[in-house]
């Protein structure tokens, strides 16, 4: 809702209107004055700038990536040898639950949100997202959720039911520690964050595109993010219901999953997977989006079959809602449903295949530059193809009953998610680092990073295919010699290979961290257009200014930036360079708009998130805390409503004060 009308500027002030000489407030009338610092930690804490939020999302998500990674290494250490003793059964169960939860909800989703936040407005030529303060709220809520989830480690043990937390094993009797409560609340809060974020991004894409940018001229990354946000909007409420039911059961004595009352535990599975399967695409489509930018850029060719890629992305999203029960082939659904879901699952392989073909054909006939970003993108295509094909073997329901819940499925989804998602994100890191920080990541270290990761990944997850087919179930805190088989290549061998691989993988990630540290110390600035890129985010300085674009670009082509640099030679049909990227950016700076209103910083999103966290704790630790949390939430919401979204003129830090306002940032 607009709060603009509530801003009181001196010209509107009744006293001045009457011409009386009184001392009047000359500043916006917030209950608390809005933060005006533009330096130091306050700038970050109270910012509503989508770029800063994007960087914060990325940083926090990367920290959680490390946390989840350490959990994974502990798991692999435990399983390297039979009857491992590194972790107790209890700790191991918490470890794999939190590994998955952390990687999915606290790394993959927010990291995608980081990219989306940062680049989506830039790619569509907007100054910010539609609701900047809501954007800040999303971030802080996500952080609160993440902290609550991980706080459980220190407060009586983390959740231990596996990331899909099947009822009734997650019920109060079977999981008596508070871990699952923390898990529920952490996910609820992180879920609210995602929901707000996705509505925000959808509105941004639909309403704030630069002039001339039709939907079919949007970069593929933006398209994929849009599809993901729709998936989130429609899948998150379902998990919310499931979590609420579980919370009622655990905290308030309801009996939704209590079999002795006649409950059906499959309800949880249905609700969970109606969310859970679209969630898989939520995780993977951003990766697809990133490489759909990287592959064309480094092949110097547009994406092959742009509309097909877009529509296959959308149809993957759509069909993704109709295949949830393929996670439940073994749960006794009855042959008809199994057959239907089996077929639907096969059908989803088709658009996925289309994507792979299009990526390959994008490179066909190109002029390929194998930079680190490109290597990761190629790695994604290969690894995802393998993961996709093992996915087809799961679609064959009878075959799936042999493979599901074994290491084969662990291998499958790591190829899909690690191969298809993490490689995409790393590709994005290398591709966009110069844009975000104005410095180039070291290509040589990038290469080491890539090769260690790709070898480590295949050594860690490749053998899991074999382990699964040899019959090693997942989620076992120990495996036993008695079931390992004979000969050299038994459980023992492959588990060891896998564990070694996981450490090689970790070294690969370490290379990335070294690279980042080295780059930060390196004073050399990156060129304005290091990759000869194709999309609008490069049409501004690196890093971009607070208001993103000095003037809002007008779009005529898909890959607008590229087409401003190159023109096709009529006779030879080759491309002729007419300008460099740097030239274009300089031209933009020269023609800058003046007096750009940007939304001002705010305390409230942060405070509201803290309030939500306290409220959540109250569910576990008692009503008084809940009351405190609720009051905090109400108080911040009140402050929020009172605060005008755009600060008074004196708070502007944009250059000029005279001249008409050309662009007013949206409110929210």
């Amino acid at each position: 809702m607009s709060t603009n009308e509530l801003t009181l500027t001196p010209s509107q002030s009744p006293s001045l209107a009457k011409g009386k000489l009184v001392v009047s407030p000359s500043q916006s009338l917030g209950a608390v004055r809005r933060p005006v610092n533009t330096t130091g930690w306050r700038e970050w804490l109270f910012t509503v700038d989508h770029k800063k939020l994007g960087i914060m999302y990325g940083t926090v998500a990367f920290v959680f990536f490390i946390v989840g990674g350490v959990e994974a290494l502990l798991i692999r250490l435990q399983l390297a040898l039979p009857d491992g003793r590194i972790l107790s059964a209890d700790k191991y169960n918490q470890m794999f639950t939190m590994h998955a939860t952390t990687m999915i909800f606290l790394f993959a989703m927010p990291m995608a949100a980081a990219f989306a936040n940062y680049f989506l407005p830039l790619q569509i030529g907007a100054r910010d997202v539609a609701f900047p303060r809501l954007n800040a709220l999303s971030f802080w809520l996500f952080l609160t959720g993440g902290l609550i989830l991980n706080a459980s480690w220190f407060l009586g043990g983390a959740a231990d039911g596996g990331w899909f937390m099947y009822a009734p094993n997650s019920g109060p009797v079977f999981s008596p520690s508070n871990g699952v409560d923390f898990w529920i609340l952490g996910l609820q809060i992180a879920g609210i964050a995602s929901l707000i974020g996705s509505i925000n991004l959808i509105v941004t894409v639909l309403n704030m595109r630069a002039p001339g940018m039709t939907l079919m001229k949007m970069p593929v990354f933006t398209w994929m993010i849009l599809v993901v946000q729709f998936l989130l909007v429609f899948s998150l409420p379902v998990i919310t219901v499931a979590l609420v039911l579980l919370m009622f059961q655990r905290s308030y004595g309801a009996t939704f999953f209590d079999v002795s009352q006649g409950a059906d535990p499959l309800l949880w599975q249905h609700l969970f997977w109606i969310f859970g399967h679209p969630e898989v695409y939520v995780l993977i489509l951003p990766g697809f989006g990133i490489i759909s930018e990287v592959l064309p850029t480094f092949s110097r060719k547009p994406l092959f079959g742009y509309p097909f890629v877009v529509f296959s992305g959308a149809s993957i999203g759509l069909v993704g809602f109709g295949v949830w029960a393929h996670h439940m082939f073994a749960s006794g659904l009855g042959p008809v449903s199994v057959a239907v879901f089996s077929m639907a699952t096969m059908a989803i392989a088709i658009p996925t295949g289309v994507k792979i073909f299009n990526w390959i054909l994008t490179m066909w006939g190109g002029k390929i530059w194998y930079s680190a970003a490109m290597k990761f993108a190629i790695g994604l295509v290969i690894l995802f193809t393998i993961g996709g094909l093992s996915g087809v073997t799961h679609a064959v329901a009878p075959s799936d009953t042999q493979q599901t819940d074994t290491y084969y499925i662990v291998a499958h989804f790591h190829y899909v998610l690690f191969g298809g998602m993490v490689f995409g994100l790393f590709s994005g890191f290398y591709y966009w680092w110069p844009k975000v920080f104005g410095k180039m990541l070291n290509e040589k270290l990038g290469s080491w990073n890539f090769w260690f990761m790709v070898i480590g990944m295949n050594m860690a997850f490749g053998p899991m295919h074999i382990l699964g087919l040899q019959g090693q179930p997942r989620r076992m805190y120990v495996w036993t010699e008695a079931r390992a088989g004979e000969g050299l290549f038994n459980f023992g061998f492959w588990n060891m290979v896998s564990s070694i691989g996981s450490f090689i993988l970790a070294v690969g990630v370490l290379f990335f961290i070294i690279n980042v540290i080295k780059t930060t110390r390196n004073p050399e600035r990156a060129p304005l257009d290091p990759w000869d890129a194709r999309t609008l985010e490069w049409l501004t300085t690196s890093p971009p200014k607070v208001h993103n674009f000095d003037r809002i670009p007008v779009v005529h082509h898909l890959d607008e930036f590229f087409h401003r640099k190159y023109e096709e030679d009529e006779t030879t049909h080759t491309m002729k360079q007419v300008a460099t990227g740097a030239d274009l950016v300089r031209a933009e700076v020269a023609a800058a708009d003046v007096d750009i209103h940007m939304p001002g910083a705010s305390y409230w999103p942060l405070l509201l998130s803290v309030g939500m966290g306290v409220l959540g704790m109250g569910v576990i630790y008692g009503t008084p805390i809940m009351v405190v949390g609720a009051l905090l939430v109400l108080f911040s919401a009140y402050g929020w409503v009172l605060e005008p979204s755009v600060p008074e003129a004196i708070d502007f830090d944009t250059p000029s004060t005279d001249g008409p306002t050309k662009e007013i940032a949206p409110v929210g």
């Binding site: 509505i199 429609f234 409420p237 309801a254 939704f256 006649g262």
Partner: protein, 175 residues
């Protein structure tokens, strides 16, 4: 708003399916067919339905920039909504008296969750309507009033439609 409502649809979808799954599952306490008072609930459903009509009137008055009538219809909608909530409070009380607590059976848990969630939505709607009325009265909305009225109207219709679905599935279809 549409996105939000779409999201809400799924939320209610989840709750309704939970209810549909569990409606006959009674180990203790009364069974749905034993306590539902269909005539009463029909009336309250009808009241809610009428409030949708008055909401339409409010929106059309707002479009004609007729503030007094907008206010009137908003008030009426709010009152009808409030009396619906009153009906629900009554219904919950009688059910409780009949021995149907929140944790009595699966049916009761899912019934209260579903209708409770809906009741909260209606209450929020009523509060929005009343506040909106006050804001219009004080002439606080500088922009297009009818747009705001329409948005809240959209929400109100949504809540209403959800109720019609709930009423049909929960009360009318014999389990």
């Amino acid at each position: 708003m549409w996105l939000f409502l779409g999201s809400e649809c799924l939320l209610f979808g989840g709750l309704i399916s939970t209810y549909m799954l569990y409606r006959g599952r009674v180990q203790n306490g009364p069974h749905p067919s034993q306590i539902y008072d269909i005539p009463f609930t029909s009336v309250s459903s009808f009241v809610l339905l009428m409030s949708s009509l008055t909401m339409v009137l409010a929106v059309s008055s707002a479009q004609r920039k007729d503030d007094t009538r907008t206010n009137l219809w908003l008030l009426i909608t709010g009152l009808l909504g409030a009396s619906f909530v009153g009906g629900q409070v009554y219904e919950f009380t009688t059910f409780y008296r009949e021995g149907l607590g929140f944790t009595t059976s699966l049916f009761s848990s899912s019934f209260y969750s579903l209708t409770g969630f809906h009741g909260v939505h209606v209450s929020i709607g009523v509060i929005m309507l009343m506040s909106l009325r006050a804001i219009i009265k004080k002439n606080k909305i500088t922009g297009d009033k009818s747009e705001v009225v329409e948005l809240i109207g959209l929400y109100w219709h949504f809540v209403d439609i959800v109720w019609i679905i709930i009423f049909t599935l929960v009360y009318l279809i014999p389990s």
